[in-house]
Symmetry: C2
């Protein structure tokens, strides 16, 4: 074990798009453990769109990330030293240590996980926060019935892939929206969605509408929103009466781009319910969700894909790529 | 009783704003009653924003109003002849006879009402469809708790006035948005709202925001939307976390004006629920709502104001005025 480790702190707040200057890589000494503490070597860092909101000073999901402190983030790793009777060296744990190679905990905020049937990294994706996000939006907001049509944007991503696969398991027609032929092919051929619309292949909103219409011949009963912008406008115009929209993210506007909704009247005309949510505010559902998602992954019913950047120093670039949709599936940073 | 009566049919569909040409006044003979039928002389015709949607061919609330047929509309009147044992001459009834001086029914679609403590015209307003609309949106969608702040647009209108007064009865802070000092004064001084924002007095969205901020020092927990456009944008930015928005109408866009929502991201950021509804799809709540509203009006706890146009021929102009907010309170047409 080295006597120092690396971490990345927020150096400045972005004005518009995130730049490498917003981050600073630091080398710091590994602390001595006090009684009750656990030292964890992080194997994977999770990169997620919500982090972009934290980088702003303004009102967003939650309190802003403080300047000069380690960037927030979910991690999975292995206990390398423990002065806490509940943890032993070798234990695999999931935690929120952020963008750093190691982390110290007093035992709170970390949880042992079983990697017998589930790969460690999946606890940051389908069997972690993104998976529960998809589960919650689908089951608690969209609440689809068998035979209904559920659409999800960013369909090949960590959240979207879970939404569509869970919808299929419920007997729904699952339709993805994703950027590029590769992602769409994956969504249909590997994840088993019924159809996927490549929004990048549409030259304008009208063509996007026609593509979506073909993919949703019976209209749309539920929509899981990760993106915002044109996609939301077009989906709104395909919604069936009493449709439900779970608003999980609007990544298209995270750098401050205006994302006007052209026809909010459709909320009235089609008597829709549109509900924004943040999964960390619904912790009471996590145990049930994680159990179902874990079983699904272990049984091969929920598949996923990962894009893995190598080494902590690659995190800023990987994060900037994530915000532009350059990742394919769950974006991780491998730290060891 | 004259042997003919007048009615107004939809002559053509508007392209943009409604014009007098869209309507045609006709004189038709009073029909002979068959067994089981009732002849009603309508005293008041109700004019309501939803009628605008019916005039279009395109997808709207409901099936379009057919060309050449009597314009849809709620009415109250008096039975003048009956061959139905359930109705007698002199009975006061509420019905949906539309824009005409008389109507024939087989007894379905009309309901006797008691005018001992409630004026006949109120059955088209606070104790009718508009009242139930306000009741449903407030109680079934916004569901405010005592001490919370509820905002309603078109606050002096038939729906808005009920929303605010019911909110006050629940111990909420009720804040109206209305056009002009007279309406705002009425909303506060006569209806008992805590505050009212005159949107016409704001020179831009920023000033409207400042006015609304002053009127809602603790933010907004529930919003009842009748208007759309700038007001909705500004309200959204004052919504508290987990706020609820009942979308009842977006009258500002009924002639096809674009009504883009500038910051739909706020639905996510503030974890809002936005729900569109049409009260006629929730008939199971009408008996309870009408009972509460009737008691409120009879006891003087729910006040209302009416703008009454004289004679059927005045209906088109009164309707066009309604769509521009020229009415003050419930817009009626007096037919006798």
């Amino acid at each position: 074990m080295s006597q120092t480790y690396q971490r990345i702190v927020l150096a400045s707040r972005p004005t518009g798009a995130v730049t490498p200057d917003n981050f600073r890589l630091e080398t710091v000494p590994v602390p001595e453990l006090a009684d009750g503490q656990v030292l964890v070597r992080n194997h994977y860092l999770s990169l997620d769109p919500y982090m972009r909101g934290r980088m702003n000073e303004s009102k967003s999901y939650a309190v802003p990330q403080p300047l000069g402190e380690v960037m927030i983030g979910g991690t999975v790793g292995e206990v390398v030293a423990s002065k806490n009777p509940k943890f032993s060296a070798g234990d695999k744990v999931v935690g929120m240590f952020g963008w750093q190679e190691m982390g110290v905990s007093d035992g709170t905020g970390i949880q042992k996980v079983d990697t017998t049937h589930i790969p460690l990294s999946a606890y940051l994706g389908s069997v972690g926060m993104p998976g529960v996000t998809g589960w919650y939006g689908l089951n608690q907001i969209i609440k689809p019935k068998a035979g209904q049509t559920v659409v999800v944007s960013a369909a090949s991503g960590a959240v979207g892939s879970v939404v569509g696969q869970l919808a299929k398991l419920k007997g729904c027609r699952a339709v993805g929206v994703a950027g590029g032929k590769d992602k769409c092919d994956y969504v249909v051929n590997e994840l088993g969605f019924d159809a996927c619309v490549d929004y990048k292949a549409a030259k304008d909103a009208k063509e996007l509408y026609m593509m979506l219409k073909e993919a949703t011949p019976d209209g749309i009963d539920g929509y899981f929103e990760n993106v915002g912008g044109d996609v939301l406008d077009v989906v709104l115009s395909r919604m069936n009466p009493f449709g439900r929209i779970a608003v999980c993210g609007m990544i298209a506007g995270y750098d401050g781009q205006p994302l006007p909704l052209k026809n909010p009247q459709l909320i009235l005309v089609s008597r829709l319910t549109v509900e924004g949510f943040i999964v960390s505010e619904h912790m009471e559902f996590w145990p049930q969700a994680l159990q179902e998602l874990g079983a699904g992954v272990a049984q091969g019913k929920i598949k996923f894909r990962e894009t893995v950047a190598q080494g902590l120093a690659s995190a800023p670039e990987a994060f900037m790529g994530l915000l532009k949709g350059k990742n394919f599936g769950k974006q991780l940073v491998k730290l060891v």
